[in-house]
């Protein structure tokens, strides 16, 4: 498998088409947070909205435009972390950042299990310019959670 094929694994191409969580959902929850992030390299952007309930991420939805890596990443993180408690979400986000900076290799420990389908992005680590694409939705999600936690809304 070439580096290019390793980056564009089938699961990524599939998620780039199906886009789990795509389309912002109106939420009637006590803690809602939203974050808008822009990839200044290409002008791609994403808005992620989360709703928290009882220490868990009850809802993740997003809207944005971008390359297949950023779109698939938003889809996979939505699928992976909807329903997760905040601690697991935080650990998963840390693991994903670590994976992005692991030069195209899996982490080789329990964090790979935590990442599940998100390990498909392992190949992105070989292309430093693309790490931003993969991280965009994760950064937005983390910021949205922080905003929901302090009870502020907006971006």
């Amino acid at each position: 498998m070439s580096d290019l094929e390793q980056m564009y694994q089938q699961v990524i191409l599939d998620h780039a088409k199906v886009r789990h969580g795509s389309g912002l959902v109106t939420l009637d929850l006590p803690s809602v947070g939203e974050s808008h992030q822009v990839n200044t390299t290409c002008g791609d952007d994403i808005t992620v909205r989360v709703g928290l309930d009882d220490g868990k991420i009850a809802s993740i939805s997003w809207e944005g435009q971008g390359c297949s890596i950023s779109q698939a990443s938003a889809s996979i993180v939505s699928e992976l972390l909807e329903g997760a408690d905040l601690r697991r979400a935080d650990e998963t986000m840390e693991a994903f950042i670590a994976l992005m900076h692991h030069r195209g290799e899996l982490l080789g420990d329990e964090r790979d299990d935590l990442l599940d389908d998100a390990t498909a992005f392992v190949g992105v680590g070989k292309y430093p310019a693309r790490i931003k694409c993969a991280l965009l939705s994760w950064v937005a999600l983390r910021d949205a959670i922080a905003r929901a936690t302090v009870g502020t809304e907006g971006s």
Partner: protein, 425 residues
């Protein structure tokens, strides 16, 4: 022109391999060009043998450094047919050159320079005109000047192919207009602007003109006197020179009364505790230590291009443009931004920006990179034009003197594999 193989031998970087051991196919010259050995040598020779403080000091090195610095200015002045060498002001890059004039106008508007600088004042009731096809560097400084001074920013729109709507000149540019800033050649569509009608209309209402010549100076013959504009900006690194150096050209009579915006040593005539008076151009705008080696490199690049002949450079790149633009236009699911182009009504530079249906430019660029092709992806610092042309971003292949016809064909060939790679027919 010299044989292309001979020209390529001047550019050492072209012999290296890139991703997967593929030979480098460099098609990103509109973003930054590569440097010939002659430029690299000029910079190294200066640093190795002649470095000294320019325009100060009484020793031999200071003299040699000053001579090299000013000789480079003369070379660049000759490339663009300035009427005097001092009409070339060194700036850190082209963006700095544009900001120099915009900030100078803001200072004039605040009263700096007094009556002498009154013609640069803008304020409420005045308008500043740009176009919809501007690079952010020739858009944001004017937008901000308007915001700071209370003037209104107006723009000339473009049509579906990216041509400036010259039919709007009479209404958009009016007696309230103080300056009209526009590009000489688009970094997205490659279209070369018909400068004359814009200048004529600006003159008619007494407005200044500012030309963004970043994409034209490196690729086609440019004569600022013949174009009859008032100011122009261009950069070293797009014309086979180093980064960290650019130039502002302006009419001497205007430069001498435009207030500076970077204050410091070297630019002053007399300093007292109460007030400061400035020198004439160019030193008026060259406060602080200058990028001397870079200026020397830009001068060497100007000499390199002039030795080749700008008409020859333009003819070569027009052939490349033809291959690129005809080629991509024939591909299914690929849209060229701008006209296919011919040498008459649609004069275009040697570049092609394309949108691949259903595939983001970042992904397109990655497939090309996998085959050793270096291209630009994204909005190329030009969001308003992309939006107007109905594209979020695009993939751009751009040529220079060293680009071969085979490289242009290879771009078209690899571009054809992009949609199939992502599972589209």
């Amino acid at each position: 022109m010299r044989a292309i193989s001979d020209i390529r031998a001047d550019f050492p970087i072209l012999t290296r391999t890139v991703r997967n051991g593929k030979p480098l196919v460099y098609l990103d010259s509109a973003a930054t060009s590569q440097r010939p050995q002659q430029v690299l040598d000029a910079v190294a020779d200066f640093e190795t043998h002649h470095n000294g403080a320019v325009q100060r000091g009484a020793h031999l090195l200071a003299e040699e450094a000053t001579e090299a610095f000013e000789a480079a200015r003369a070379s660049v002045a000759r490339l663009v047919n300035a009427s005097e060498d001092r009409e070339i002001v060194w700036t850190g890059n082209a963006t700095a050159a544009i900001n120099l004039v915009a900030n100078g106008m803001a200072n004039a508007s605040a009263g700096v320079g007094g009556e002498e600088s009154a013609r640069f004042r803008v304020g409420p009731g005045d308008s500043i005109v740009v176009t919809q096809t501007e690079h952010h560097a020739n858009f944001v400084p004017w937008q901000q000047l308007a915001a700071r001074t209370g003037a209104t920013l107006r723009w000339i729109e473009v049509d579906d192919l990216g041509h400036m709507r010259l039919d709007q000149l009479a209404t958009v540019i009016d007696p309230t207009t103080k300056i009209v800033a526009f590009t000489h050649a688009s970094n997205v569509t490659g279209l070369v602007t018909d400068v004359a009608p814009l200048v004529a209309r600006a003159r008619e209402v007494g407005a200044l003109t500012f030309l963004d010549a970043c994409q034209s100076v490196p690729h086609i013959p440019v004569d600022f006197q013949a174009l009859d504009v008032d100011f122009a900006a261009f950069s070293g690194h797009k014309m086979l020179g180093p980064t960290g150096i650019g130039a502002l050209w302006g009419r001497a009579a205007l430069l001498d009364v435009l207030p500076p915006s970077l204050f410091g040593g070297g630019a002053i005539e007399t300093v007292t505790l109460e007030e400061t008076t400035w020198t004439a151009a160019p030193t008026r705008f060259e406060a602080g230590s200058q990028p001397v080696a870079q200026a020397v490199g830009m001068g060497a690049a100007a000499e390199y291009l002039m030795a080749m002949g700008m008409d020859q450079v333009a003819a070569h790149e027009r052939r490349i443009a033809h291959i690129l633009r005809e080629g991509v236009s024939a591909l299914p699911g690929v849209r060229l931004l701008g006209p296919v182009g011919d040498s008459e009504a649609n004069d275009v530079l040697g570049l092609a920006s394309v949108v691949v249906d259903g595939v983001h430019s970042h992904d397109v660029g990655q497939v090309l990179d996998d085959q050793g092709l270096a291209v630009r992806i994204g909005h190329h610092c030009n969001q308003p034009l992309h939006r107007r042309l109905g594209a979020q971003s695009s993939t751009r292949a751009s040529a220079h003197v060293y680009t071969t016809e085979d490289e242009a064909r290879l771009f078209v060939e690899i571009l054809a594999t992009v949609r199939p790679f992502f599972g589209m027919s």
